[in-house]
């Protein structure tokens, strides 16, 4: 055995020696020039290989350029200037704007973060995890949160702590401002040191707060949905219209660069005649279904009759004894919300309205039911609603499901192509399209694959941050969280607040203005009535009233 090994080692040694010599020996018996020159030539043997590779790379690049389907497609569809439809983000300059926030729950905290304010502990934690790049690099809006109004002591205290933390956006540390807690919203409105209010309370307070804030001469940012009942919309509309203040509803999708490109594609008529607008919601978690009164250990979240001003929280809704379930899971109760319509459909409808200017539907019919989460509130888990626009020649559908998380994109169907538009955008030609028939025949486009595809470009991992809950994922997919403008990730909510603030400073009308908000509000009321009262609803544009059919 040992001798065998030695034998092998010997052989290997001889082989290596002989191979190493081979280089020197090879070619020596040729009639080549001097051995020294030959060695140099041999040493340079790799150069022609590199040259050959270089030549092939050039050939391939030329070939790809000439035969690039993508380039031909961009030329034929005239898409080369599509990126220029995205507005660059400009700096926001002006006097410090003093903002009061009403309702400092989950959403209030998110909006404060989008303004540049974050709780110190949260800031430090995220900063250490390296996930604050996008937050820090967003511009300094030069605002101060100077007032907090919340009926829950814990939330109000958290709001004050957040407001007192220095702004770190734009690389600057802002001046400290005093922060005041107001026990009622009217106290906040009465304070002349508040220039603008953000309303992020449960939905049953949105309408009266917005109306009263407009009357008090404050600029207003109201979270969706701006109303819960039809009778709230006209007084709100009139109050906002007759004030000379800037109103923005919390429908932030138009700030997404993908939205701006989608609008450009639609304006160019690339889909052909549009017949169907499809909006959807699919979520499959208790959190996504707004069952949020328990913490991760299954214990009730904090809050009791002592720390929560329950009477003020109930507002005009009918009296019920204090309930943690109602306090945290209010979106499941028609007493405080319109459920899926107010929480999620409002974004969907606003997106379609901003893209196509659909206005208010002629008629609406809704069906569905509460079949799964039967122990919580009264909103449906499955909901299907049709909105007719006979003058425009299309139907909008909203199909929602709280027990399936299959992703269904927001879609627009045309005679020549269909578009999926959310965080990403695709446009796929229709196999029977006349407009693209020739291109399909030539193999330039294919009905089974998108001919235009715009990825959000944002690094999903950092955009969603470390916290990627089911509903965050949902919002990201629908383009409501982050976007890529000029190669940078932007927080869509930051841009939406910025648009509002820029209009306050420089004049102009924000995208989710009172006209658009009115249209979404009426449409939600039509759908809500149709579902709850089991009837078709019709809009009377002259009387500005909803008719039950």
């Amino acid at each position: 055995m040992a001798s065998e090994m030695n034998d092998k080692n010997d052989k290997r040694g001889r082989l290596e020696n002989s191979i190493s010599k081979a280089g020197n020996m090879s070619g020596q018996n040729q009639n080549n020039p001097s051995p020294g020159r030959r060695k140099v030539l041999k040493a340079l043997a790799g150069l022609p290989v590199v040259g050959l590779l270089g030549l092939q790379v050039l050939r391939k690049t030329n070939y790809d350029n000439k035969h690039s389907l993508q380039r031909q497609l961009v030329d034929e569809l005239g898409l080369s200037d599509l990126m220029s439809s995205v507005k660059p983000v400009t700096a926001s300059e002006g006097e410090t704007l003093r903002i009061g926030i009403a309702g400092f729950g989950v959403r209030g905290g998110q909006l404060a973060a989008s303004l540049g304010f974050m709780e110190k502990s949260e800031f430090d934690k995220k900063s250490a995890a390296g996930s604050l790049d996008a937050h820090i690099s967003q511009g300094n809006l030069n605002v101060a949160i100077t007032g907090i109004c919340d009926v829950f002591d814990l939330h109000a205290e958290r709001g004050i702590a957040v407001a007192q933390h220095d702004i770190f956006t734009g690389g600057e540390i802002a001046k400290k401002h005093p922060v005041k807690r107001y026990m009622t919203f009217h106290d906040m409105l009465a304070d002349k040191n508040i220039d603008a209010v953000i309303i992020s309370t449960p939905d049953h307070h949105h309408a009266w707060m917005t109306t009263d804030a407009a009357k008090a001469g404050k600029h207003i940012y109201t979270e969706k949905a701006i109303i819960r009942r039809e009778e709230e919309i006209e007084p709100l509309y009139k109050a906002v219209k007759s004030s000379n203040k800037v109103f923005q509803a919390g429908h932030q999708y138009p700030q997404n660069s993908v939205f701006q490109q989608a609008k450009e594609i639609l304006d160019r008529g690339m889909l052909g005649d549009v017949s169907h607008l499809e909006t959807t919601t699919n979520r499959n978690s208790e959190e996504g279904a707004w069952i949020r009164h328990l913490d991760s250990n299954g214990k009730p979240k904090p809050g009791d009759k002592k720390s929560i001003d329950w009477k003020q929280w109930l507002g005009n809704s009918s009296y019920v004894p204090f309930s943690t379930q109602r306090y945290y899971s209010w979106a499941r109760y028609f007493d405080y919300d319109t459920g899926l319509y107010g929480q999620l459909f409002s974004h969907e409808y606003d997106a379609m309205n901003q893209l196509l200017g659909i206005g208010i539907p002629d008629t609406v019919v809704a069906t569905g039911g509460q079949y799964y989460y039967t122990d919580f509130g009264d909103i449906p888990d499955v909901l299907h609603t049709n909105f007719e626009f006979p003058d425009k020649g299309y139907t909008l559908t909203y199909s929602a499901n709280l027990t399936s998380s299959k992703f269904r994109p927001r879609s627009i169907y045309g005679k020549d192509a269909w578009m999926a538009v959310g965080g990403d955008l695709t446009v796929t030609p229709d196999g029977r399209s006349e407009k693209y028939g020739d291109m399909i025949k030539r193999g330039l486009v294919n009905p089974s694959a998108p001919m235009i595809e715009i990825k959000r470009g944002a690094l999903t991992a950092s955009a969603v941050d470390a916290v990627s809950s089911a509903s965050t994922r949902y919002y990201e997919d629908r383009g409501l969280v982050s976007t890529n403008i000029g190669g940078r990730i932007w927080d869509v909510n930051h841009l939406h607040l910025k648009e509002w603030i820029d209009c306050i400073r420089n004049g102009g009308t924000p995208s989710a203005n009172i006209e658009k908000a009115y249209e979404v509000g009426v449409t939600i009321a039509m759908a809500d009535i149709s579902y709850r009262e089991k009837c078709r609803t019709k809009w009377d544009p002259v009387q500005r009233k909803i008719i039950r059919l």
Binding site: A22, A45, G130, I489
Partner: protein, 160 residues
């Protein structure tokens, strides 16, 4: 009849293998250089097994990701050129083996590690990346692999 022990053939095949692997790595590097949109993000996001945490860290930080992309691109170009020209062949071979083993470990074809990126073949534990990584070690240990290359001149000078 050519004997398989023929030294010329042994050298020739080693050198040919060096050219081929060098070509492959150099083109991978050049491709990335010529396509500025390219990023290792997709590959890293799919990372499984022991390096997945490392991959996540890279992609969670855009400046780190940019550095990794640049290192990868220029690393491949340098290794590819090193192998084809046989310039600092041993360093190039070890670096190449290291880099390819890193690719391998990022997404090893182990049982139960499903792959989201479509593959052109079927692999179990061993894949082409691993084979190429190990094959490159030949150039580090066989001096004959340095024939037809600039190292032979450098070595010659050193000897003189």
């Amino acid at each position: 009849m050519v004997s398989i022990n023929n030294q010329k053939w042994q050298t020739g095949i080693l050198v040919a293998l060096r050219f081929l692997i060098g070509w492959h790595l150099l083109y991978e590097g050049l491709f990335k250089l010529l396509h500025p949109d390219w990023s290792s993000l997709g590959f890293l996001a799919e990372s499984k097994w022991i390096l997945s945490g490392f991959a996540e860290w890279i992609i969670s930080n855009s400046s780190v990701l940019n550095i990794v992309d640049a290192l990868n691109t220029w690393g491949l170009i340098a290794i590819g050129l090193g192998l084809i020209l046989s310039l600092f062949t041993r360093i190039a071979a070890f670096a190449g083996t290291g880099l390819l083993l890193l690719y391998y470990l990022m997404n090893p074809p182990f049982i139960g590690m499903g792959h989201a990126i479509p593959l052109e073949g079927n692999y179990l534990i061993v894949n082409k990346t691993l084979i190429e990584a190990v094959a490159m070690l030949l150039f580090a240990i066989f001096p004959a692999a340095h024939c037809y290359g600039l190292d032979s001149l450098i070595n010659k000078r050193k000897k003189n």
